[in-house]
């Protein structure tokens, strides 16, 4: 079995960073692999038998039936990333939110507390600048900045190449701070074990209904900036109900990156995730 991606190929490739040094001797096509871990409903998006069918109508045209997920390639790379994280025992967490919810500040706080027990890495996704990566490095984690330019999300391939450069140690934590955007990143599996959506109390309590995909595909929701609750109209009960209606399995933790409220609970959630994923 291929040790990198788990496919049936018995190539001579070694376990390692996805793609690293494997490229030349690992050239079989993973484009349409079958991903059991992907988000959303389970679909067999590439049916080999169906794929071979097709009609040839002698007018020079041929119909090729595919039924292939448009993101099949991304999902295949994400699966390889996940297998790498599994084998290296790296707890990979994808952090998603609108811009300005406090992702970086939460990470700064978390790194300060986590770094004594585990090595922490961060992949920073922003359209421009390496301001966030600088902040993260100051907080004590090794960071790599991805600038997407006009791109609105990170994809599995960007994460794959960032991981190659980071080369994370065993039993570490890798946070991916996605581009601030509550829409596009929800479609892209990066190979993470857990997805965390962050919202702040300065946003509306109807966010889960307006942007359901992000809440639906997340494991945890951090409700940040709780220190501002006395001054804003955020309706906590309503928000929790909306979020649970969209995703009944979603866990929620109220935090304030500023005062430190709830950060201990968030830290505990991370430790539990590490146990659950054997990382």
């Amino acid at each position: 079995m291929c040790e990198t991606c788990g496919c049936g190929n018995t190539g001579k490739e070694k376990t390692g960073i996805p793609g690293k040094k494997n490229k030349q001797d690992h050239d079989h096509d993973h484009s349409y692999t079958h991903e059991h871990d992907s988000y959303g409903p389970h679909t067999h998006y590439y049916d080999d038998k169906k794929g071979k069918e097709g009609s040839h109508d002698h007018s020079g045209k041929q119909v090729i039936n595919l039924k292939v997920d448009v993101l099949a390639r991304n999902n295949a790379i994400a699966a390889m990333n996940r297998r790498f994280f599994e084998s290296r025992k790296v707890l990979c967490i994808n952090m998603v939110s609108s811009p300005g919810s406090g992702k970086t500040t939460i990470l700064e706080k978390s790194i300060g507390r986590l770094k004594s027990s585990k090595k922490v890495y961060v992949i920073e996704g922003d359209q421009q600048t390496r301001l966030d990566a600088d902040r993260i490095e100051k907080a004590g984690a090794q960071a790599i900045q991805i600038n997407t330019g006009s791109g609105c999300h990170l994809d599995a391939q960007m994460v794959e190449s960032a991981v190659k450069k980071l080369d994370p140690k065993a039993n570490s934590i890798l946070f991916i701070e996605n581009v601030g955007n509550l829409v596009c990143p929800s479609r892209y599996d990066l190979g993470e074990f857990r997805r965390v959506v962050i919202i702040s109390v300065t946003e509306g309590s109807d966010k889960p209904l307006k942007y359901p995909n992000m809440f639906e595909t997340s494991h945890l929701c951090l409700i940040n900036k709780s220190d501002l609750l006395p001054w804003v109209d955020f309706k906590m009960d309503e928000f929790v109900t909306n979020a649970k209606n969209i995703n009944p399995r979603l866990e929620l933790i109220t935090v304030s990156a500023k005062t430190g409220e709830g950060i201990e609970k968030w830290e505990k959630w991370i430790s539990e995730a590490a146990i659950q994923t054997n990382t």
Binding site: T43, S59, Q62, I64, L71, G151, R187
Partner: protein, 119 residues
């Protein structure tokens, strides 16, 4: 604007299949798009048209098949049709515990023109 990246993926899939079949042109692409897929169809069409200009997929017909949503109610142990993400079970009024259909965004089929038929 992930529609642009999605259009690029469609081109890669169609291009790969066209190459495998010695095609000289892709004249039709049929996409299945669930109503919860989160893709702005008009933006996706424009992106695909823009990216395929002057290529073997130039002016390819883009057929979009919309797929309705289907939720599962664990209270009633039944599936129900959904037209909106906030639709609830028609029997008990609960939100679906699972969305079973509506997220799809797939290339269903393509139509290619073969080299040997061109001559």
């Amino acid at each position: 604007m992930h529609e642009l990246s999605l259009a690029e993926e469609v081109i890669k899939i169609a291009g790969y299949e066209a190459g495998k079949n010695d095609a000289v042109r892709v004249s039709e692409i049929t996409i299945e798009a669930g109503i919860f897929c989160g893709v702005e169809i008009d933006a996706f069409r424009s992106a695909l048209e823009m990216l395929t200009e002057g290529t073997m997929m130039d002016k390819t017909a883009i057929n979009i098949q919309r797929v309705n949503g289907r939720g599962f109610c664990s209270e009633c142990d039944k599936e129900f049709e959904m037209n909106n993400r906030i639709d609830t079970c028609p029997v008990c009024g609960s939100f679906p515990s699972e969305i079973r259909r509506g997220h799809e965004f797939r290339v269903v089929s393509i139509v290619v023109e073969r080299n040997d038929d061109k001559d």
